[in-house]
């Protein structure tokens, strides 16, 4: 069902709150993966607030939808979303990265409630998602698995082993995303290790590919609805074209902000930028929403 304007606006509001909480967490921790955290935030928000069938009061519910954040270094974006849902004590964000905290850079599924897989070593998530997808088939369950990978992460060959197997086993209950923010640590993906033509690669591996603006809530909804309605035997890959650092103008698209410090001055500047970004996003939803 298409997103209504009201729903779209509500999700924009949530995405703004979560970007603010990400920023605060970064500020409390002193630094963080602010670039890849902000690029992926709209995907996290729409999954947790529109699609994932989960129970906060029963996080280990056997029939829940699974979510695997394969680009585990975006924990600083994921933790605020889980806290806001009610899975974890909000105070934990204030000790993010601190000694003996439950929450470090990469979220640990044995310590942070609601996390389905401990990621952080890149190139593991898609295989795990394939595993939970096949488990659902074996057990006759209806749950879905969602998996988000980084674009730089796709350099790892293990992803392509998983891709081949996912198409081979016709695993359509897994819905996958690439956060295509065009940057990794050492630079632009096309300069460090070219990925293009990326959509063609996934198509050649047997996927149904959707290329969308991954920082557009409405396009994300359409793509996920498409994947959920998929009755064919090809798995769906959503290539979500995003901006690294989305919402914070002075870091947007700058690979040097993969991991950055959030001292006072930048923190204030970032807050102002996020507020402007939210206004622009709301205006877009007002104009384009139905």
């Amino acid at each position: 069902m298409a997103l209504t304007k009201q729903e779209w606006l509500a999700l924009e509001d949530k995405a703004y709150q979560m970007r603010r909480l990400l920023l605060d967490t970064c500020h409390w921790a002193g630094s963080g993966h602010i670039g890849g955290g902000n690029s992926v935030m709209d995907m996290l928000v729409i999954l947790y607030h529109r699609y994932l069938n989960i129970k906060v009061e029963d996080p280990a519910w056997a029939d829940r939808d699974r979510f695997i954040l394969s680009k585990g270094h975006a924990g600083i974006a994921y933790a605020p979303v889980l806290v806001d849902k009610g899975f974890n004590d909000p105070e934990q964000l204030k000790t993010f990265n601190l000694t003996n905290s439950k929450m470090g850079i990469h979220l640990d599924s044995n310590k942070v409630v609601g996390v389905d897989a401990s990621t952080g070593s890149l190139g593991h998530g898609l295989s795990i998602a394939l595993g939970t997808g096949l488990a659902a088939r074996v057990q006759g369950k209806n749950y879905k698995t969602y998996c988000i990978m980084g674009d730089g992460e796709l350099d790892e060959g293990s992803n392509w082993e998983a891709a081949m197997a996912m198409a081979h086993f016709k695993v359509t209950n897994v819905i996958s995303f690439v956060d295509r923010n065009h940057n990794m640590i050492d630079g632009n993906t096309e300069e460090i290790m070219a990925l293009e033509p990326l959509a063609d690669k996934w198509t050649a591996f047997g996927f149904e590919v959707k290329v969308i603006d991954g920082n557009n809530i409405s396009q994300l909804a359409d793509a996920i609805d498409f994947a959920l309605a998929n009755t064919g035997d090809k798995p769906v890959m959503i290539i979500a074209d995003t901006v690294k650092g989305e919402g914070i103008d002075f870091i947007e698209g700058d690979y040097r902000w993969h991991y950055g410090a959030m001292a006072e001055e930048n923190y204030e500047k970032s807050k102002e930028s996020l507020a402007r970004h939210y206004e622009a996003r709301k205006a877009r939803a007002e104009k384009e929403g139905k």
Partner: protein
């Protein structure tokens, strides 16, 4: 230095250990055109990128693809180049375990892995980025030399020796700055030879990497506080290990503590235990390190304190070991 080569001294107090490594590698690169460098999207973080800025045509950033990087290095080495590779320790060891085993060690190629962010030095990143079992893997592989330098000066020495010595090397250094234990590079670094950092007759503390500074601090403290004479051995080369220095420590002090930023299984403590067991002499012994678990999240110095491998933890372990009983064999004196 060995090989009659000349090097410019580095100032290890002003640079992070990885920066010292990057500088040293550039210097080697100036003299040896066969040196090439590879990384997997960690040029900046590991500082191997410094080499890339100076020699772009001899630098290969393969993207986030460590296994490919190691296989490529094997091919390059077979064709006569001397590849240096850098990634985080966990990814430069376990992530590439089979390539390391088969492409590097089995074929005994001349490739040098400089693994950064070793031990729990990237503490806040959690267990996916703590390298607390890398020694266990690398130490078990034939043909490879394993070094864990104590500071930047020792890192510069280790990197040069790796170039000068044919065969595979794995050198594990930390993220960020290390406490400096030497005044400069000229303290007589020799591959496979322990460095006596403090003389002592009551007990020996054996350490490597970041634990060396901690062991020295503990020894100095115990000398003043308890009047104890604590020998400190820096076993920077875990493989091949300096058996004589360990045997001498057993004979001279009969009490040994090992401290390392690694699991007590498979690392320096295990290596020392093997030497002790085969030597056949009674010796009070304790391994400090990660006790068969994953480590907590946090700052490196905090984690070291939690694990008991900082100066306090080591001092406490020394005091406990001074009270430990062990069986003296009757012929002890004959055998010395």
């Amino acid at each position: 230095m060995a090989g009659g080569l000349t090097y410019t001294a580095v100032d290890s107090t002003a640079l992070s250990t990885a920066e010292v490594y990057g500088k040293t590698l550039v210097e080697l690169g100036e003299q040896h055109p066969e040196i090439v460098a590879l990384t997997a999207d960690l040029g900046k973080s590991t500082k191997i990128g410094t080499f890339g800025e100076r020699f772009p045509e001899r630098f290969f950033n393969v993207g986030i693809a460590e296994q490919n990087m190691v296989g490529m290095a094997a091919g390059m080495a077979k064709a006569g180049l001397v590849p240096f590779l850098s990634s985080f320790s966990q990814f430069a060891s376990w992530r590439v375990a089979d390539q390391l085993h088969t492409d590097i060690c089995y074929q005994n190629v001349n490739a040098k892995i400089i693994a950064t962010h070793g031990g729990t030095s990237f503490g806040q990143a959690g267990s996916t980025h703590h390298a607390i079992v890398d020694f266990a893997l690398v130490r078990s592989l034939p043909n490879i030399t394993l070094i864990c330098p104590a500071d930047g000066y020792e890192t510069a020495n280790a990197v040069r020796v790796a170039y000068e010595t044919p065969g595979p090397f794995y050198i594990r250094i930390n993220r960020g700055f290390d406490r400096v234990v030497y005044e400069n590079e000229d303290y007589g670094f020799a591959l496979g030879k322990a460095v006596e950092m403090r003389p002592g007759t009551d007990i020996t503390v054996i350490a490597c990497g970041s634990c060396v500074f901690q062991a020295i601090s503990a020894a100095d403290f115990l000398k003043n506080a308890d009047g104890l004479s604590v020998r400190v051995l820096n076993i920077h080369t875990l493989k091949p290990i300096d058996k004589e220095a360990i045997q001498k420590a057993i004979t001279d002090t009969r009490r040994i503590i090992v401290a390392e930023d690694h699991s007590v299984i498979g690392g320096l403590g295990a290596a020392v235990a093997e030497v002790i067991a085969e030597y056949g002499k009674g010796c009070a012994f304790k391994r400090l390190g990660v006790q068969d678990s994953f480590a907590p999240i946090g700052l490196h110095e905090d984690i070291m304190s939690i694990l008991g491998i900082d100066s306090n933890g080591i001092a406490e372990a020394v005091r406990a070991a001074m009270k430990m009983d062990f069986e003296l064999d009757d012929d002890w004196d004959d055998e010395v």
